[in-house]
Each structure stands twice: as structure tokens, then as C-alpha cells.
């Protein structure tokens, strides 16, 4: 099995995800409109309620990285979750029969999911800029793309693992809402994470999305509670771990 051949398989799966995304206009619309709505309405609404302990403003600038992270999270989970629908529709049987390593099929799917997540993240980044969010630097914005990609890989991997393990789309959907809500709410996307009660602080600290949000704040706003060294290490390990987990569970799928 040559490298070329494996790359072909990765590209095939990536292309497949891209074509599906491109064909599904409602998905594009939905994917973009939710976080934009959040930015437009929820951001200003929440701004009035909080203040940093040191007196820093909790404004639209503060919320923008959180909403971008949220959008990357949703897109990634959805992207990895296509596996469960493919399982149900039978498309997966055909894919799994291909004479190539499963891990590279999973990798191609992950690449597709991450690309879509990145498209959404970038659209939001631009939109937030248009409505007045001030980014600290151009290089920061570019670095934020890297943060989105790496976190995206982590969440796609997680979704692929879950979708490989769960049998029905309904079950997967339930699991996703069960997972996505706490991830978002306990990530510091909606509130400053300094000076939280210890039990809440602990929950926020074990949430991988927290590090994604914090890393994005560091890139885009130049300030973050968690040092960028810590958050970048955490999201990198998270991504590597979840990718392996996703590949492993995907490899275990049995079709009868």
C-alpha cells in the first residue's frame, strides 16, 4: 500500500464531505446563521450582566471568540456525526469495503469536518470584524485559524468515535445535545472564568472547549485567563487523543 494510495483515500473522503456540504444549502445557511444570531443578539444582551473583577469590560469583543469556538464545536460534531447516518443509509458499507486502511478513511472524514468547521469559523471571524469586534493583530487572526483547526480535529475525532459506537442517528443526536450543551455552557464562552466557585472552576477546567475559547481569546484579543502555552498544549493533546480514539472506534465498526 503506497502512501499515494492512502492519500487518495483521504482525499476521496474529504472531497465527499465537501461535495455534500456544498450541495446542502440549508446546512450552510443553518451553520452560519446560528452563531451570527448569537453574535448579534446574545452578545449585546449578555454584555450588560458581567464585569471582570479587575474592571475589564465584558463586551462583544469578549464574546466573539466564544461564539467562534462554539461554531467550530458544532460543525465538528456534526461533521464527525455523518458516520452514524452513513451507517444507517448503508453508504458506509461501500466505503468500508474499500481496500484501504480504515484509519485513513476516518482521517479523510475528519479533514472534511475540520474544513467545514474552519469555513464557518472564518465566516464568523469576518462577520464579527464587520460588526465592530477589534482584533489585536493580523498574525493573531492567522494563529486563530490554527487553533480552530486543531480543536476541530479533536471534536471531529470525538464525534467519529461516538458515531461509530452508537447505532442509531436518534441515539447519536440525543448524545450530542447531552454533550454539546454542557461543553458550551461550561467553557467560559458566556462568562469570564476567573474567580469562579471551585466546583464550577473544576468543571470548566476539565472541559476541552475552555482551552479552545481561551486560546482564541489570546489570539484575537491578546488577553486570556489561561496562558496560551497551557491552552495550546491541552488542545494539541486533545486533538491527537481524539483522532486516535475516533480512528480506533471507526476501525471497529462491523457491518452485517
Amino acid at each position: 500500500m503506497t502512501i499515494m494510495r492512502l492519500m487518495n483515500a483521504v482525499f476521496a473522503m474529504w472531497l465527499c464531505e465537501m461535495l455534500r456540504f456544498w450541495r446542502s444549502k440549508s446546512r450552510i445557511l443553518g451553520a452560519l446563521s446560528t452563531p451570527i444570531t448569537f453574535l448579534l443578539f446574545l452578545g449585546p444582551g449578555l454584555s450588560s450582566g458581567f464585569q471582570f473583577q479587575d474592571g475589564g469590560a465584558v463586551d462583544l469583543n469578549f464574546f466573539a471568540p466564544g461564539f467562534i469556538a462554539m461554531s467550530v464545536l458544532f460543525a465538528s460534531l456534526f461533521g464527525g456525526g455523518t458516520v452514524v447516518w452513513e451507517k444507517k443509509s448503508g453508504i458506509l458499507k461501500e466505503i468500508l469495503l474499500a481496500p484501504t486502511y480504515r484509519f485513513f478513511i476516518a482521517l479523510g472524514k475528519a479533514a472534511g469536518g475540520v474544513t467545514i468547521a474552519l469555513i464557518q469559523g472564518i465566516s464568523l471571524l469576518i462577520f464579527a470584524g464587520l460588526i465592530g469586534v477589534r482584533y489585536v493583530s493580523g498574525s493573531g487572526v492567522l494563529t486563530s485559524l490554527l487553533v480552530m483547526t486543531v480543536s476541530g480535529i479533536g471534536f471531529v475525532g470525538l464525534a467519529v468515535a461516538l458515531a461509530s459506537w452508537i447505532e442509531s442517528p436518534e441515539g447519536f443526536q440525543m448524545f450530542m445535545s447531552l454533550l454539546a450543551m454542557p461543553l458550551v455552557l461550561l467553557s467560559g464562552a458566556f462568562f469570564p472564568i476567573s474567580g469562579l466557585p471551585p466546583w464550577l472552576g473544576a468543571l470548566v477546567a476539565i472541559n476541552p472547549l475552555t482551552y479552545c475559547v481561551e486560546a482564541l481569546r489570546w489570539c484575537l484579543l491578546g488577553r486570556s485567563v489561561i496562558p496560551i502555552t497551557v491552552s495550546s498544549v491541552v488542545i494539541t493533546f486533545f486533538a491527537a487523543g481524539m483522532l486516535l480514539l475516533g480512528g480506533r472506534y471507526f476501525g471497529k465498526i462491523r457491518v452485517q
Binding site: R5, A12, L19, L97
Partner: protein
Amino acid sequence: MRWIRMLYAIETNDITKQFGGIVAVNNVNLSILQGELFGLLGPNGAGKTTLINMLSTMTDPSGGGARVWGFDVVADAHLVRQNIGVVFQDITLDERLTGRENLDIHGMLYGLDGKVRRRRIEEVLALVDLTDRADFLVKTYSGGMLRRLQIARGFLHNPHVLFLDEPTLGLDPQTRMHIWDYIKILTKEEGVTIVLTTHYLEEADHLCDRVAIIDHGEIIVIDNPEALKNRLGGDVITLELEDSADTARLRALYEDNGFVRVISRGSNTVSMTVRDGERKIPHALNLASRAGISILSVSLHKPALDDVFLHHTGLTLKNKETGDAGDYGRSWIRSTGR
């Protein structure tokens, strides 16, 4: 790669599959020649799909083994996959992509490089008459087109062995005939060894070089369709008489004139088993009219594989489908997830 010359495209050795307590495939031994069009005939739930799934490395056998194109289906699953194509019973195309895109992605997964892939896609599209519709989304395709595209995809990568699981299930008669033509072209022009499952008797009869009748996971009989039918002794001519009083006289007359196995079913019919039924009818009618017995109707029944099935199992395929779909059928459905 293979050091020992291979005689059979597929060889199974007591291959067995159990799901929970149910034996779906039981000690099956098959040897399928290269280039052969081999049929697995049996009612729903007989174990055909499970057998195909094992041969195509989708499911591991619980016992026994098989070699496909010389490779072991468990130990060399990877090499088996490189040499086979599978056309599943259910549609496994991505309906959000076009026909061409479905083929393209399949070709990439099987490692066909760009130039070869494009040429090959044109070839298979032409073979199944889908060139005009290649760039339409698959969700706009009719049932027959879906099936044709799926068959085209199955042999896109030039497999040596192609598995077709119920290739014409649920299609109208005309489309079915078309699919049959494509399958024939495939064996003739591309020299592909084909294993197809079906529960349509005409299909096995019309297409296959050899047929294995399978029921409850076991092979009941393997032979070519003609030989299977000949085992039953020939065609059956049935005559309906105007006057039931003549029945016994006509029977005696036919028996005296060399007809064998003459029986009467009902009070005014006479049936006999003959070879070359079409050619015997005029003679039979002549005899009757000379004896002054008037005949209302004549029918000729050519033995079909259904009769063979009946002969070997005591059940017709139709009976099996309706009457015997009880516990066995349900547990099958549960165990395969279909």
C-alpha cells in the same frame, strides 16, 4: 503474488456463520470456477446474504473458511478486497452526489489514478447506459438507474470476482431484463466471475451457468439449471376434457401409445410428463380426436426451478415466503439487522 496456480475463483470449506443461537450458514462447501456466473437461489432468510458477506470479508465466519481469488477471507481480507466488487442488495449510493461523483470517489478509494479512473468511468457508464445522466444528482434517479449505477460501481475497479446480492429486487420486468443483459455482457466481455443471489427462479434460470439451491443455511443441490430441471423428467402436458366419462379411456389410450406417467388430476383432466412437450402436443391431440374424445384445453408446463425446489424441499419458494416466515424469518431479521 500467488505461487500456486489457482483453479477456482472461490472455494469454501465448511464455512459457517452463527448469530446468537441461529445458524445462518451451515457448513457450506462451494467451488466456483473462474469466469463462471454462479447463482445462489433460495428464499429470503436462507443465508444467501450472510454467505456473500463472509466471502466479501464484511463478516467473519464463525467456523470453516473460504478463499476468494486465492486469498483467505480472514487472514488476507485486504487482498480479497482488492480483487472483488460487491453490489449490495440495498442502495448504498450517496444520493447527494452525482452519478459520476459516486463513481469517482469509489475509483479513488480503490486507488485508480486520475487518467485510468476517468477512462474507466466513461466505459462503465456507457455499459449501463447512464452516460446521459451521469452528471445528475443520484436522488433524481429511478430505481432501475440506481441499480445500474450500483452495478457499474461494483465493477469500476476491474474486480476479478463480482458479488451481486439480489441485483433486480423490486424492479419492474423490463428493467430486470436490462439488468440481465448488463450482467451477461459483464461475464462475456470483461470475463468477470460473478456470484449472484436471487430468489427469482427465472433469474437464476436465465443467467446462471450453475445454481446452488440454498435453504436454512445449507446447500441443497448444485447443478446447471438444465440438469436441475431434467431431474424432474421433463415437461407436463395437461388436457381438459369436455366429458369426464372419457377420462379413463384417454389415459389408457395414451399409456398404450407410449406416453409415460399419465395421471388424471380432477375428474376431467389428464396430465402426462414428456420430453419436448411442444412437439408431443399435436400427437396427443390427434390420438384424442381419432378416438372421438373432445378436448377443451391444453396446457404445457415447463419445469421451473420452483419445481426443483419443491422436489428437494417439499416446499415451493412462494410457500416459504408467506407460510414459513414465522420464527425463523423473524430471528433472521433480528440477527442481521435488516
